[in-house]
């Protein structure tokens, strides 16, 4: 018995020992809790985001981090559940992390905005900033906006406007298919609104909401889309809902064009394949070929280095913009203090690594940056996921062109001295 007890004590001791160096190391870093689906149907997206973030952080840290400290990402799996994201938030605030970062799922974002708002009100000494890297339902920086929430991706209404502008003149019949939750409903509403405004000749022949992440075979939907006589499918689907949908469409070989928000994410290129040459468009912040198109050698070399060590494309240019903004804001704030950093972020203007203007709007904490419409086709310099095809830029929309108004009325804290 005594032997056993000693053994247990030793085992516990070594466990503590194994953890403690990390804790000690963590004290002089700026910790960012990153919560996204790292298991479940959307794990592939969360995993790809994480790898790109780590690549970007290595780069930012090599350039000195902020205030002489390095940024450190602490991942928390939220299994696409708002409740798990709130647990991640709790752990982050318990450890006094100044940032929580989340990209995937506007329903989760809405829960986080509320959770952060409450926490910061009750605990003014340990506030936290919510950095939104891709939950884009329009209302999050409008009706639901918060001082502590900074969104670093353009929202659905902006993307819908880009898409409506990019729609060719000969397309007059479109079919809408979206995921049945906050974000998908936002796409449905905003795309219809902008089509009605900019392209009154376009008729919506079908409008569908599907359960999030549940459908394995989209063939029945493809049959329905074809029967409705649609020339183009507009969808905000992401993750498996995007890849399986597009795969079913391409496999069925029907004559359809795809206007998407997320076909360029991980797995998308593989799902489209060579048969989809020129058929799929995506509203995106970046593609590896864009650096080539604008002749930016530095950006090309930097993304190529990612490409050489990973099995998928680097598509998250916006993520680098996030950390360049954070780096600058933390330096400006002069302390790792959430309130000071938040004020420093407000209205901050920067050029991103491609040389375009970006601004974190003060009144709604929504970034406005350049955005691209990409087409997936043959004959580009960098192909995607070894398919031989890749994304070429069809249109570049600058920040000024999508600077839509907002209805945000946020409650601001007192400016710290």
């Amino acid at each position: 018995m005594k032997v056993l007890r000693t053994f247990v004590a030793a085992a516990l001791g070594s466990a503590v020992y194994a953890i403690s160096p990390q804790v000690a190391l963590g004290q002089d870093t700026i910790k960012i809790a990153y919560t996204d689906p790292l298991s479940g149907p959307f794990a592939q997206v969360g995993d790809a985001n994480l790898k790109q973030f780590q690549y970007i952080l290595d780069f930012i840290n090599a350039k000195g981090g902020a205030l002489g400290k390095k940024f450190e990402l602490v991942p928390f799996d939220n299994k696409s559940q708002p409740s798990d994201a709130l647990i991640a938030l709790k752990s982050a605030t318990d450890q006094n992390m100044p940032f929580i970062l989340q990209c995937s799922g506007s329903n989760i974002a809405a829960a986080l905005i509320e959770g952060v708002e409450k926490h910061n009100e009750r605990n003014p000494e340990s506030r936290i900033i919510y950095i939104n890297c891709g939950a884009v339902a329009t209302e999050l920086t409008n009706e639901k906006c918060s001082f502590w929430h900074f969104r670093f991706d353009v929202h659905v209404a902006m993307k819908a406007e880009i898409m409506a502008r990019a729609m060719p003149k000969d397309v007059t019949k479109v079919y809408l298919l979206n995921q049945d939750y906050l974000f998908g409903q936002s796409v449905q509403r905003d795309v219809k609104a902008y089509l009605a405004k900019l392209r009154p000749d376009v008729q919506v022949v079908g409008d569908e909401l599907i359960p999030l992440g549940k459908i394995k075979d989209f063939s029945p939907y493809i049959t329905k889309i074809k029967a409705a006589g649609a020339q183009a499918l507009i969808t905000g689907n992401w993750g498996p809902d995007m890849n399986l949908l597009i795969k079913a469409g391409i496999d069925a070989g029907i004559d359809l064009r795809y206007y998407t928000l997320y076909a360029h994410l991980v797995g998308g290129a593989t799902a489209i394949g060579p048969a989809g040459d020129g058929k799929v468009r995506s509203v995106m912040s970046f593609s590896e070929n864009h650096a080539v198109e604008i002749g930016n050698k530095d950006a090309e070399a930097w993304t190529k280095a990612f490409r050489d060590t990973h099995s998928f494309d680097f598509y998250a240019a916006g993520f680098r913009t996030i950390f360049e903004h954070l780096q600058s804001a933390v330096n400006k704030a002069g302390a790792v203090d959430a309130t000071k950093i938040a004020f420093a972020l407000e209205g901050q203007k920067m050029k991103d690594f491609l040389g375009y203007d970006t601004i974190m709007r003060k009144d709604d904490h929504q970034i406005v940056s350049e955005y691209l419409v990409g087409v997936f086709k043959k004959g580009v310099k960098y192909d995607s996921e070894k398919t031989g095809l890749g994304w070429a830029t069809e249109a570049t929309i600058l920040a000024n062109d999508i600077d839509q108004p907002n209805v945000c009325k946020m409650k601001r804290p007192e400016m710290p001295k």
């Binding site: 794990a43 069925a252 070989g253």
Partner: protein, 315 residues
């Protein structure tokens, strides 16, 4: 007509895949009286084994080897696990298989990772077989149909035309009697369990690349397979077959019919407006509740006909 034919084909493919999974489960369930929660896990293992094997020696050998491995695992589970737990009654067995399902999922996550593996349709079958009203029918789906039809034929022949099949069939309905006649019922159990698991593995091999191979695939497929088994009825392979096709077709056709209860009421001269009670429920279109329909049917059949469609004895 176009929508009908294409949907019919899609529904058939899905229904036959369900049947491959459910047929093994229905045999196990009927004989042992235990809903094997780990059955869909064998489906997942089949897909992962096939993926790994196909990396080395190709899809065609994986098609044979992966189900065999699943069958062996099934036999081991029955001989060294279930048989010991059996003494403690059905609840213990149920919990045992439930625990097993969770363990298998974790093991799969640890071995192959959390994200989907790139398990693809073999190049030889990656072409459109024919075109129906401008919609391609992929050859791989025809292959799935063929495999599952072959399997149905093989099980049916084995059960009705061979001696071992006769004993299995007898054990399905009168296990105690068969035992009393001096047959080694435990060995029959092992055989059926291994066979059922191998069939689930086979379904995984051909279903894993048709859908996606990821750690949650067992838990998404599990409930619907139970519905098929209960709906089809205990101890009836034909009932299971009909139920599988029915569920496959119902889920496929639910997607294409944009009707709601309000449309049905309109046929009787009742118009639903926003002030009608339950207006929100009545106007929900069928595609949005398609995934729910099998469970509605499950509840209904348990209320009306607890032994299932062609069941020979009560659950």
């Amino acid at each position: 007509m176009e929508v009908f034919l294409v949907s019919l084909l899609n529904g058939l493919v899905y229904g036959m895949l369900l049947f491959m999974l459910a047929s093994g489960l229905t045999l196990i369930f009927s004989m042992m009286g235990v809903l094997n929660f780990a059955h869909a896990s064998a489906y997942m293992l089949g897909a992962y084994f096939a993926y790994t094997i196909s990396l080395f020696i190709g899809f065609w050998l994986a098609l044979i080897i992966a189900p065999l491995i699943c069958g062996l695992i099934g036999a081991a589970i029955e001989m060294w696990g279930l048989r010991r737990v059996h003494k403690n009654g059905h609840i213990a067995e149920l919990l045992f298989t439930f625990g097993l399902a969770l363990i298998i999922e974790k093991v799969v996550q640890m071995t192959w990772g959390l994200i989907a593996v790139p398990y693809r349709v073999p190049a030889l079958l990656d072409f459109p077989l024919f075109t129906l009203y401008g919609t391609n029918f992929p050859a791989y789906r025809a292959f799935m149909l063929a495999i599952s039809a072959l399997m149905f034929g093989a099980i049916w022949l084995a059960l009705t035309r061979t001696r071992i099949g006769l004993i299995v069939q007898a054990s399905l309905t009168y296990p105690e009697m068969v035992s009393a006649l001096g047959h080694n019922v435990p060995r029959v159990f092992t055989l059926v369990f291994a066979g059922g698991t191998a069939l689930a593995g086979l379904a995984g091999v051909i279903g894993g690349n048709y859908h996606t191979t990821e750690p949650s695939m067992a838990f998404t497929m599990g409930p619907i397979v139970f519905v098929v088994v209960v709906f089809g009825g205990l101890g009836s392979l034909i009932g299971c077959f009909i139920a599988s096709l029915f569920m496959g077709l119902i889920q496929t056709f639910a997607v294409v019919f944009d009707y709601s209860l309000a449309d049905l009421l309109r046929q009787f001269g009742l118009t639903v407006t926003s002030s009608t009670p339950f207006a929100e429920v009545l106007t929900v279109p069928l595609p949005r509740i398609g995934a729910l329909l099998p469970y509605v049917l499950l509840v209904l059949i348990l209320l009306v006909r607890p032994r299932g469609l062609l069941g020979t004895r009560d659950t």
